[in-house]
Symmetry: C2
Subunit: 296 residues, 2 copies
DNA sequence: ACAAAAGTGTTTTGTATACACCCATGA
DNA sequence: TCATGGGTGTATACAAAACACTTTTGT
């Protein structure tokens, strides 16, 4: 693979970064329980929602964007991202980006694709960006915490985005909409336990359209990957619903890394991240140790 | 995205490379038309096919591997690859890797995934490798051209591979086997025109099992993306078969970049590659011009 | 009792499969 | 005319969609 040929193009190697399309379930438009931050902060007018929409009967996907503080595309909205250093995994970098943007814990993380080429940097350094998508937060009682240069946007009311991030988002949503055909992904998106109605809400939001609840129920139960916990919970004020748990079937697990990482593995990575950060702080006095590969 | 923060970790950025899983349709085992190079070259014994298999009724996928000429994993088989320079697209680099290995023209090229992290280099430089898979060659009259440090292997008789390339190959095959559900991908894999039997052969080889020809015929025709050219061709000595052409349906095209690149686009990239190479040769005397982004 | 949500049954439609069958052609 | 591959018909099984319906609960 040409490692070691230091002469020619070696110094022209592109830099590596990650960006994350972070998704959470939020209200549809005209929803009474709306917690959306529609108060326009005093910023430039081009950041306001460009596409007026009529009422959406189901919930929608929301994603946080950050405002760029540098050229190029200064002041424009962009996907959260991080540089990747040689001693960390791509997933680590993605988790850092996640953490820097939202305090919610990720339920799912999957690599989407790498984007590269000289055309996409537009005046910045040439970058190869590995894009992940992540699913965070619970479906209920969701309050987007918008601060200074970060803000949540509904999937169909996005502002103009920096770089090729609009293409990336479109790609992510398309990929997401084919991914939800796997019952295990949907089930684990929502958390350890859930009612069928909650699950149904996720699917509708992702699919972007209403889905027959009765048929959904049958399909998801027929998959054999849901287990009745015996508990019951009342979402509204009416009849309590059965609470289910996702229970993986053996052979599936072997193929799971094909798709993405789930809550438990993510938790492990985040743990490791915290440890790493501490040792990084120590390494500040001893720069050499930072060059040593992490596992030593 | 942190571009411009040159201090801290900037110098620790991993290098970027591409690897390509190159696939071609070849004979199944016990096939009389076998053109496989089963003469063991005098190399080390660990390169011989490790898994003895019984006869496979359908054709199989074959892929070229290259022998490593450097540490780590010196002498071991690995996926063809290239370093990526800042002024080229990832697809360009992938095409270079393709070209350096086989003279066959690619029918399809799709990015699989980026692999990274400190664990995978094992003594080499930290690398983020963007892996592509490609489909080359025609289904008939296939002769693998094995030379010195390159050799074709059947998908189910691979030797031990360097780095994490075995995982990568497994991942590629899994992905390929889900991709063939798209009729357009299958159709365009084989070339501009083809008989249904040829197409059927591709699907069987990729699926790794026999597929009912009658039902396959119906399904693929029902997709509405195949057009009868009116021509007929005799493959064997019997009744001639109708020749079809792939004709894309409008809306599909918008989503096509979601998957991969096909022959025509690849042709364009290869053209561009050749031009680039010439200008690179010129730039040898004028190193500065190589730093200018290609589109200037 | 009523509203609202949980959960079930039933009919229809479409699609994948298995496999029997006919057709066209060259030897 | 027969073997071989090209191409079609058909019965069956299964999965998804549509939607009417019953049950359970709180007010």
């Amino acid at each position: 693979m040409g490692i070691g040929n230091v002469s020619e193009r070696r110094l022209q190697s592109p830099h590596v970064g990650v960006s994350v399309v972070i998704l959470a379930l939020g209200p549809g438009s005209d929803d009474a329980s709306s917690a959306s931050v529609d108060t326009d902060d005093g910023a430039s007018s081009k950041t306001t929602s460009p596409v007026p929409r009529q009422a959406v009967p189901h919930r929608r996907l929301w994603m946080p964007l950050v405002r760029r503080t540098r050229q190029p595309y200064l002041g424009m909205w962009a996907l959260p991202g991080e540089d990747v250093s040689a001693d960390e995994t791509l997933e680590h970098a993605a988790c850092k980006a996640l953490e820097s943007t939202t305090a919610l814990t990720p339920r799912y993380l999957e690599q989407l694709r790498a984007f590269g080429g000289p055309d996409r940097s537009q005046g910045g350094l040439p970058m190869v960006t590995v894009v992940y998508w992540a699913m965070v937060g619970r479906t209920e009682t969701w309050t987007p915490d918008s601060i200074d240069d970060m803000r949540w946007f509904a999937e169909d009311e996005l502002p103009e985005l920096a770089f090729d991030h609009r293409q990336i988002v479109d790609y992510a949503l398309r990929r997401l909409r084919t991914t939800i055909e796997y019952p295990d992904v949907v089930a684990r998106l929502i958390g350890p336990t859930f009612t069928l109605r909650q699950l149904h809400g996720v699917v509708e939001a992702i699919a972007g359209q209403t889905v027959d609840l009765a048929n959904f129920r049958r399909r998801i139960l027929a998959s054999g990957e849901l287990e009745d916990t015996g508990e019951k919970i009342r979402e509204g004020r009416q009849r309590p619903a059965a609470v289910y748990r996702y229970v993986p079937r053996a052979e599936r697990d072997a193929a799971s890394w094909t798709r993405g990482l789930f809550g438990d593995e993510l938790h492990r990575i985040n743990q490791e991240l915290r440890l790493r950060r501490e040792s990084d702080a120590r390494a500040f006095d001893d720069p050499l140790s930072a060059l040593v590969p992490h596992r030593g």
